[in-house]
Amino acid sequence: MKLDHSLLTRRTFLNTLFGGWLIAVLSGSVYAFLKFIFPTVGKEPDFVVLNKADFFDIPANTVKIFPWGGKPGFFLKKDDGTQIALKGVCTHMECNISYVPGVKKFYCACHKGWFDDNGRNIEGPPPKPLEMFDIVVAGQKLVIAKKGVQVDLPKA
């Protein structure tokens, strides 16, 4: 059947066809490109397994640092012998903090933020307390875990 009048001009048809190709090819390419340039993000560990003796035997009122992913974790033994573990990274702008034994506080040098020995933000710009970890002892091993994470160690 031959139509007297076409619904489309030849030009419109070709423009739509080529335009469609262009959009399809470009969107596919841009999507692939973006997928490539944005990294596959890892995550922080749920827990780390350490040697108990290395940490429980430190003197009172000192801190021992353990690697928590790419960041420092702090293991603090207080004067009364209790121990806490926390992430040694300031909650303000992610600078590494340090423990000041003289005043029993954590200190961030970047913007002069202070945390008490329970990780509470007490002075300066930090908006939140430090991230606290759970301490689990399993035989000779010391497991430091994110709050609320269930730790299942393989039986050795």
Binding site: I65, K71, M93, C95, A109, C110, K128
Partner: protein
């Protein structure tokens, strides 16, 4: 003899007369504030200087977290004149950014951005962002403790932007943390991506300036003298300034050679009294003035949002300042320009001494 034959060889093949006509016809307006015209040329010169010293340094630098720091200390201690070239690159960057800011504020106050030069302003503004990123990425390549901390703070700060912050942070870091992936990325930015972008944007900027000619401030329209030919009058003045800048640069590089801190350790506490490079101080100081928590919101997010809006506003000034585009005096935008300038200068000084 040889030069004559070379000239003939070229003129037989190319229409050099047309080029000469264009160069001869290039005129620069003359008026009491014509000195402002040299700020752009100076920035361009310093920029080219950075390209050259940067290429030289890239012959020796190793972009790997284990070796980066050592390669720089080797450049400074074992290579012929290595300390000098690193120092030149460092001071060249400082002067290029200072010169860019002078260029920027001068043209903001003289309202050179007004119609028809809106895109000159926008391309120039993009170059400020590019230069900041050049500075940040170059600073990180040193891989010393200060650089490491600074990059964690800066990329973390970008992460405070609402909505898109998280994606920007991951994109810049190449992961959740500042690591080797970050160094690889920043190296790519510093030596390949940013230089390419700069060539394009600076090329466009300079081309647009040629198309429009130099802007004469509105208030000086009736005090204009006879335009000067660019070649040789203005060009020679440019050369004088470039030569003086080279002198200052070399003097600084020799008398105040750049230092190298201790190698970065991701587990070590942030160094005491850490401060960013001077051109980040006004941002740093603004952040310091904001409390960590404002009502329900994160103070940082609010601070960074306000700063971003102020920057966005500055980009769009040519489109908002209708009065000066219409050739009328526009005191409101003079005050805005003065405010931006004062804010930048005062906060930088407070950040420096406080």
């Amino acid at each position: 003899m040889i030069s004559r034959r070379l000239e003939e060889w070229i003129t037989e093949r190319y229409d050099t007369e047309a080029l000469r006509r264009v160069l001869r016809a290039k005129k620069v307006p003359s008026h009491p504030l014509e000195a402002s015209y040299f700020t752009g040329g100076l920035t361009l010169f310093l920029f080219i200087f950075q390209f050259i010293t940067g290429m030289a340094l890239s012959l020796y630098y190793v972009p790997h977290s284990e070796y980066a720091y050592k390669s720089i200390s080797d450049i400074m201690t074992k290579l012929n004149m290595g300390w000098f070239f690193r120092s030149l690159h460092h001071w060249g960057a400082q002067l290029a950014i200072a010169s860019l800011f002078i260029h920027f504020f001068t043209n903001m106050l003289l309202k050179s951005y007004r119609k028809p030069r809106e895109l000159v302003w926008v391309t120039g503004f993009i170059m400020i962002a590019v230069l900041y990123f050049f500075g940040l990425s170059g600073y990180f390549l040193i891989w010393d403790q200060r650089a490491f901390t600074a990059i964690r703070v800066a990329t973390g700060g970008a992460g405070s932007l609402p909505f898109i912050g998280g994606a920007i942070k991951v994109f810049l870091r190449g992961g959740i943390d500042v690591t080797q992936e970050t160094l690889t990325r920043f190296y790519a930015f510093h030596v390949s991506i940013l230089p390419m972008i700069s060539l394009l944007i600076v090329g466009l900027h300079v081309l647009l300036v040629q198309v429009h000619g130099m802007s004469v401030p509105l208030s000086l329209k009736d005090r204009e003298g006879k335009p000067q030919p660019f070649f040789p009058n203005v060009f020679y003045k440019d050369l004088i300034i470039w030569l003086s800048a080279t002198g200052i640069l070399v003097t600084l590089a020799v008398i105040v050679p750049v230092e190298l801190g201790v190698k970065a350790d991701p587990m070590a506490p942030a160094p005491e009294n850490i401060k960013p490079e001077w051109y980040f101080l006004f941002l740093f100081q603004t952040l310091k003035f904001f409390p960590g928590q404002i009502g329900l919101f994160n103070g940082e997010t609010i601070a960074i949002t306000i700063i971003s809006l102020a920057i966005l506003f500055a980009i769009f000034i040519p489109f908002l300042d209708r009065r000066s585009s219409a050739g009328k005096p526009s005191p409101a935008y003079t005050y805005i320009g003065v405010f931006y300038l004062l804010y930048f200068v005062v906060m930088t000084i407070i950040g420096f001494f406080y």
